[in-house]
Symmetry: D2
């Protein structure tokens, strides 16, 4: 029935040139295109607990659509999810979110949730958690009136003397801080996170973990705002702080790399014939794995490389580590800086920070040697630098011109990768 109405209006629209009529038909079309459940959602949202219900409902929609691939079935649900997203985006507009700083004086229930939600660098226990809200640490969350006690987005910040190369440095610093924490605790029983800190050793603020907790709010970008508000808060508290930087994972690198390697293998190429290694490197690789007794004659090292990367076992051999640093760093620069999907960075985390206007600043070899780090990105981590005055132009440039702002290190590595690619395409 409603489709008929839309159809009539569409026809009417096509058949007139009168702007006043058009304007009226536009209004009617707009109204008719609003699905009836839209009004229902609005009603539900006005009930106590209704907003939370809709957020959870959308999370279920999304998960259902992901696990059901028949387009006929899911297209209506996707449309519903998209309508719901629009409604939720109004309700979760920045002005309705409360920025809270979480400290050891925050409610236990809140801290427990922050611990439960932490996906990037999980916490082992309450001592660990206490350290993450203690001296030289800041933890910011967004909360929302409609979901009391629930952290919507969580951002962890470390205050350091210099931009760290590896997450374990942040963790080590952690331990040092724990000592501080204990001391200051005993001497003064202080309440703010600042106690026991030496402001002069707070040169850089490192965003080392950011988590959106609500699947139902997918696509509504709150993390960007949280980072910006956190930067502002930190500037107010520590006016001398002037470096803002992430220490970020590269979730898709190893997966992307393995696809390249396996495609090459399927195509019957040798390593030297790919754009992944230089000819010199390919030869050196053969020597290395021959020594290690690993060479499978048939593929001249490609299969072995796949195997080693897949199992993360190259990390057990210092020679392999030393050799792989250059090619993997180069390929990672290519992955982050050159690989695109619909003109955006292929890597989702990269895309997030670049859209915010951050600079692709430094790749860190052995940045995260945990199993998680190796499986994500062969242990490489990356710093995205937030230079406040440049965020706006960078962001526009990235979104409109698809230009990525990167440091010399990254550009240099990526250009080496490009040479190999070009060589191949000749």
């Amino acid at each position: 029935v409603k489709r008929k109405k839309i159809s009539e209006l569409a026809t009417a629209y096509s058949n007139t040139e009168d702007p006043l009529v058009r304007s009226r038909v536009e209004d009617q079309l707009r109204q008719s295109l609003q699905p009836s459940y839209y009004w229902l959602f609005q009603k539900i949202g006005a009930l106590p607990g209704g907003v939370k219900f809709l957020v959870d409902f959308r999370a279920q929609l999304i998960s259902f659509c992901l696990s059901n691939l028949e387009i006929e079935r899911t297209s209506a649900l996707k449309s519903m999810s998209s309508q719901l997203k629009q409604l939720l985006s109004h309700w979760f507009s920045v002005g309705f979110l409360d920025l809270d700083q979480i400290t050891w004086d925050s409610p236990c229930s809140m801290l427990q949730k922050i611990s439960d939600y932490e996906a990037v660098h999980p916490m082992r226990n309450w001592t660990d958690l206490k350290a993450r809200v203690g001296p030289y640490r800041r933890c910011f969350v967004y909360t929302h009136k409609s979901m009391p006690g629930e952290p919507i987005v969580v951002l962890h910040v470390a205050l350091t003397e210099e931009i760290p190369e590896s997450i374990s440095k942040v963790v080590k610093h952690h331990r040092m801080v724990k000592k501080y924490s204990v001391d200051s605790h005993q001497s003064s029983g202080s309440k703010t996170g600042r106690e026991g800190e030496d402001p002069s050793s707070c040169e850089a603020a490192i965003f080392y973990s950011i988590t959106s907790t609500q699947t139902g709010l997918q696509g509504i970008e709150l993390g960007t705002q949280l980072i910006k508000q956190a930067v502002q808060k930190l500037k107010e508290e520590l006016p001398d702080l002037n470096q803002f930087c992430t220490l970020s994972p590269i979730p898709g690198f190893r997966k992307w790399l393995l696809i390249l390697l396996q495609t090459a293998k399927r195509d019957g190429k040798t390593l030297a014939q790919t754009d992944l290694l230089t000819i010199d490197e390919a030869e050196k690789w053969q020597g290395l794995i021959k020594m290690a007794g690993n060479l499978q004659e048939s593929d001249l090292g490609l299969g072995t490389l796949i195997q080693l990367v897949k199992t993360n076992s190259w990390m057990e051999d210092q020679n392999l580590i030393a050799f792989l640093e250059q090619p993997l760093m180069r390929l990672c620069a290519r992955y982050l800086y050159l690989e695109k999907r619909r003109s955006n960075a292929l890597d989702s985390v990269a895309n997030f920070h670049l859209r915010n206007g951050a600079v692709l600043w430094r790749l860190n070899w052995e940045g995260d040697r945990s199993v998680r780090g190796l499986t994500n990105s062969c242990g490489i981590m990356v710093n995205y630098k937030y230079v406040l005055d440049d965020l706006e132009p960078n962001s526009t440039n990235y979104q409109e011109n698809h230009k990525v702002k990167a440091s010399e290190q990254v550009i240099h590595l990526a250009s080496q990768a490009k040479v190999l690619q070009r060589k191949l395409s000749l």
Copy 2:
């Protein structure tokens, strides 16, 4: 350009039957129909003070459209106002409004605003204001995170022993209450409004004033919700309270009456020939005004009636008052119960309460003898009764079937008016 896009999509929609294609085109249409300023408004709303700015902006749009009657100029602005209204309706959804009870312990700035905004029964001074938040009085407001310290809607309630017939009774009760207030103040220095009250004399809650303060939120119905939440709060505080009723003005009655009278005059009718007075009444009227030396021969009393109603001067003559009670009450019942605009009650206040599901309960002769009251409605006031369990069905019945639920008194008066109308149309 965009119209071209819409036009193309409209054509495409008309030309296909495939549901999947339709669904996709619908999405695209929806997107294209969203005017570009919609996104701008969203951006503004996310800025500090942005929501308040948009509310004020819409107030300006509305006032501009009211004072500019050329449709070409205002149609785009009206459309903008309507889009803005939709956005604001999301942001001012009930879940985002805070219900506050205002007492003498509330901020002075808030109380001053409540005094400034009070349009229905203006306050003369702070003693008056103190009485309105004191014993036997409740004052509820909605506030909104984005407009701190601003009462969005204000509802004044009086707790009385019986449903009052006139606003001055509420005011007299006021004075009595002021005495209470002083006593309780001196004896206990109490903080809550309840002190000094005798719960057993709180039989009825009278909503004697409700004000929406933001022109920019016109069309977004918040008053209904405020009344409902207030009823709930009052039930919690005083479980024995079981009558909820307004004492309301009838803002359009006299204006409507004068139009009827003047049309009759223009048409050269005598009073006896109209459906306003019975023939007996018309005769009696002539006698009355002859006695008073007021009769203009030419119109047999119609002109004099118009003059007296226009100037409110009939209130100065007890005979006129006594005579006019019956016809004016009958006409007022006709105005409220029978007169419609697009199937709704013609009177805006009546429409508001009937849509909420209230009962048109009692007309009160000399309910408000102030100039304001006479000018609105020849001094008549009306009680709308809120019977909790009936609100939902009444509201549906009114909105869908255009049935008004009224008391016997009102129905009786209106049926007398109907007889006169019918007589005339024969």
Copy 3:
């Protein structure tokens, strides 16, 4: 019975030299000297509302003792009042008082109380009150957990460009400020008192009114602490502020002056024979009042002077005003700087500020031309200056050595008065 116990202990104490025994007897004496109602008061204080009850009870004790002069009756009550004072001084220790800044956003009930309690410069209406908590004004109060909503001490501060000479200048500035207030109100609907202020024109903070509201806390000095905390708060808010000064009444001057004059009259002296006027002045006075036809031959002007001062009528004659400035200012300096009671300044307000360590800084002729001002001090007002670093030494010097720190103006005037006194005593 108890007296017997004390007597025994007293004898025991006198009869021993053993320090251990003495120490034990001291403890017992201390215990026995504690009157039984002391424990009762403690019990009462622990009950809800108990502290407030005891404060009011002490107020009644004080008022009863003032109106009953028979020492036998009141000595026990005075002792009780003094015990109660000690207990209350523990409960109203500074750490238990909350410093609140009162603004237009504070509860109406609090603002009303502040208005009611204001004794120094009474407020006429709510507009006046709003101005006193508006821009260029600060209002601080102490509140106490046991008396919620009750301002214990109230301090009014004006922020000015220079130290004002008269209270009406503060009031005029008031009017100017009211304009500001309106403007800032309309433009921004701001919440803090600071809006609409130009910090660069806040050079001096003038304490123009301080009121202790609880008679029952008489003798427990809270005003001093409130001033000190207010200074600290103001320094935090306006770091450039560096002058802190009162504009104070001189409540006892005229009364003291009239006693001197009347004594002289009773002693049959002429004005020239007193130490109040110089011989030249006395002659000039005779001339002046002869001109005005006021001279009573018998007393050569003394009776007329008494009469004029008593009725404040000298204020109506410019010649008298001009003539009296010098002698009254000189006598006022003598009153404030030289007159003592038990080594303290005779004037209670002077004693309060000098004990706080303030400087007796400037006498202001025609500082307060209101009836109140004339009746207190022939219209003279005085500034006490609070120089933060000097407060401690000044205070000690005043309390231990009875030295008053005063400005050159005051010392000069007082030395002239001294010359007259000495002349007389020769």
Copy 4:
């Protein structure tokens, strides 16, 4: 010097009979007996952090006096501690303490402190802690303005269906509750402790742990008030709750018992010759330990009993447990009900609850089988019952007439013990 003054005043007091003079001398004596540090303490208390400093200072005084037994050295310090106690008792008067209910939404820092301070039944981890503030549990604390974030006294309450006999039952119930907690957490993310509770199974409120955290407040009884306020709060929340009862340790029982046993041994008595066992029991005991091969001929079982009690090893043998129940319960009743120190119950916990007016209600064999429980009281625990209307008379009766209100069970056991004592003394 001051002693001279006191001495003079004491002499003056002894030598006069005039009540007015006496009264004046009393005032002077009172003043002179106030040591000079009393004023210093008052000054310190007015400084920020001063009260906390004095509490800690008194804690050090107490600990120093405990570890230094020379009376000459400590008498002055004891006097100082006593003066300080008086001052602190004013500042920590009930009206100045805030009653807070601690839940999982309370600050982590507060919950950590509660966990750290818990001495009676230590917590193993955060899950344990969460259970203690979760469903069927209440945790109340007193806090004080001068020591923010510090729990002064902590009271743990369990809501149960019947009065539990053993602490492990409370713990088992704990586990059951944990399940509830998890369920309710997942289903509703509720905030209050009440969620997931069935009010109808809350028949009794068990005070199973009360801890005063500040040594410096020793002798200032805050626990009593906390229990009373907690009872009031619980009655408000659960009006049907009507049993209030402790499950308390008996800290001094085993120590007292061992002294009795060792004295008997030193005196060369046999068990049968003591008033600890009946002759039958003594014989049976010999048989039992003979069987176990434990008998030392020399003392006919006394030494073995001492040994077993000292090492808690009797708990490993069911026969010994079964045998010892009767004599140990009897002796424990004697310890709690009959043994006195200065007319008060010898056991400090008993004395606390009896002074509050509670009833010595039930001894529970194997109430606490933990090492702690065995070492305190051979595993016996005791319930003190708080019958609200009887508290006042019971308390007075205990404090003035030294009468202990006990249940039949306790009286019966104690009378058996008395028979043995009497037999011996014949």
